[in-house]
């Protein structure tokens, strides 16, 4: 589904990522974990086309997508969410999700301005599609609220609803549980499993170990820009290198 090979990112004199490689299977939930500064978010920014890596290749469904801009990756069914949720604050919750349908609609500037018949029926389809995703994430009652006024937890759900509207085959989530209380985190875990059940491959960067161990099928551990370990939650929990990286070495 997604393969990164030899990803290296150098910022000035700092090597943020050093030749990181791994493969993700379709339909898995994969967690990318590691101590602060391990390069997790940098890796996400590279995969999602926001940064251009110093070296290395990204393959999406076997296709080399290295250097593709984010909007092109969205059309190839890859979408991401952000650690500090990036909502369209001046727009309503429903409108936010409607923007998510952008790649699934085609009316151009002139068709929209002159209200061409096909643009009107498309608008109806966009609205219905967006409502469906609000329902899926359980925030239908907030549809007409300004997104900028949402509490953080609801904003997170909105960001996920908006990403799902792209109808991705792979979704990258950057610390989805950050800033959520324990109840919201439980609901999030259930939501992520429901997303996986729709055959969407999920990759998440996360610090909440309980959540990661609970929902992930596979885990990739980064430390100081290098891949430290890879395996099932069980294997990772028992790995001496990982324990050393997290808890410190005795030597």
């Amino acid at each position: 589904m997604l393969e990164v090979s030899g990803i290296t990112q150098i910022f000035g004199g700092v090597t943020a990522l050093d030749s990181v490689s791994f493969k993700l299977a379709k339909g898995d939930i994969t967690g990318v974990i590691g101590p602060n500064g391990a390069g997790k978010t940098t890796l996400f920014n590279i995969i999602s086309g926001i940064y251009h890596q110093t070296a290395g290749t990204v393959y999406l469904e076997g296709k080399d997508v290295t250097g593709f801009p984010p909007e092109r990756l969205a059309r190839l069914s890859m979408v991401r969410t952000f650690q500090n949720i990036e909502l369209f604050g001046g727009m309503t919750v429903l409108e936010n999700v409607m923007v998510g349908m952008h790649t699934k609609s085609t009316s151009g500037l002139l068709a929209c301005s002159f209200k061409a018949p096909w643009s009107i029926s498309e608008e109806r389809r966009i609205r219905q599609g967006a409502l469906k995703w609000l329902d899926f994430t359980g925030i239908t009652d907030l549809a007409d609220q300004k997104a900028g006024n949402l509490p953080f937890g609801k904003g997170r759900l909105l960001e996920i609803a908006r990403a799902l509207a792209v109808e991705p085959r792979i979704i990258l989530m950057d610390e989805p549980a950050a800033g959520l209380n324990s109840q919201e985190t439980l609901a999030l875990a259930a939501l992520i499993k429901r997303i996986r059940d729709m055959d969407i491959t999920v990759v998440l960067v996360e610090h909440d170990m309980e959540l990661v161990m609970d929902i992930c099928d596979r885990i990739v551990v980064l430390n100081l820009g290098k891949k430290l370990a890879e395996g099932t939650p069980q294997q990772i929990q028992e790995s001496p290198e990982v324990i050393a990286a997290y808890l410190g070495d005795d030597d």
């Binding site: 969205a74 369209f88 952008h102 009316s107 301005s113 498309e122």
Partner: protein, 319 residues
Amino acid sequence: MKKDLLLFSAFTLLVAAAPQLFKGGYLMNVLVFVGINTMLAVALNLLLGYAGQISLGHAGFFGLGAYLSGIMTTTYSIGPWLAMPIAAIVVGIIACLIGFPVLKLKGHYLAMATLGLGIIIFIVFNETVDLTGGPSGLSGIPNLKIAGVTFDSDVKNYYLIWFFTLAVMLFSLNLANSRVGRALRAVHDSEIAAQVLGVNARILKVQVFTLSAIISSIAGSLYAHTMTFISPASFGFNFSIELLTMVVIGGLGSIFGSFLGAALLTLLPEFLRAVNDYDIIIYGALLMVMVMFMPGGLVRGIPALYRKIFGQRKGTGNA
């Protein structure tokens, strides 16, 4: 959306009835300018209020439309109704070509680049004397004609200009409430999130910049044909700033706000003529007060003020 269309219908009726209400006269001439300025403010608002991209060169596109129409109809005797779309297409192509490199810039840098563009166009109007008549202007531009009716009086021009203004407003309202309008607002709020969702921000910005320039060009052509005389002074840097003020005072991201801003800034100097030497001071002070107390513009400030007064009355009534 439905609310907007209802408001638009009411507004259209008001515009149609205005000549009867004001019984013609000098005010009709001012209202022609309100119409032209509304078109320009709406055009700039699409760029600034929706897409969040500033332009300090819009007077240049307005001037290009006016001069292209003026030169084609006088020197080359092309019909005005043909000259207008040709001018709009030429200005659109220029805006598109300039837009690609310029719109890569953000914030202050974009402001500087568009400012430079406006100044260059202004200098071209002044210096190409053979073509534009230079600082002394271009005269003898014909009035527009439809089926034997020549638009040569204030009332006729009023209907002509406002037909176009209303069309531009309806066009923009439709755009604002559509897939493309949402994508524009998304780019404004978070460009990176919009891109991640598949919005090609770069192309979209160039598209709306081009559209904005085309509307400004049409306004310029109409201006040339109603005034029959144009000179570079009308298309300078000052006017770009005035347009920006209209958009901000009226309300960013609101089509009706652009009308309010354009109306206020066009009518105010006329009313302030009574206090001749002090007019510019009062004008400036009023703008300052409005920006301080109505940061969302007239379109949001007036309803808020109304609620405040209405709410207080209700309170005293109960006591």
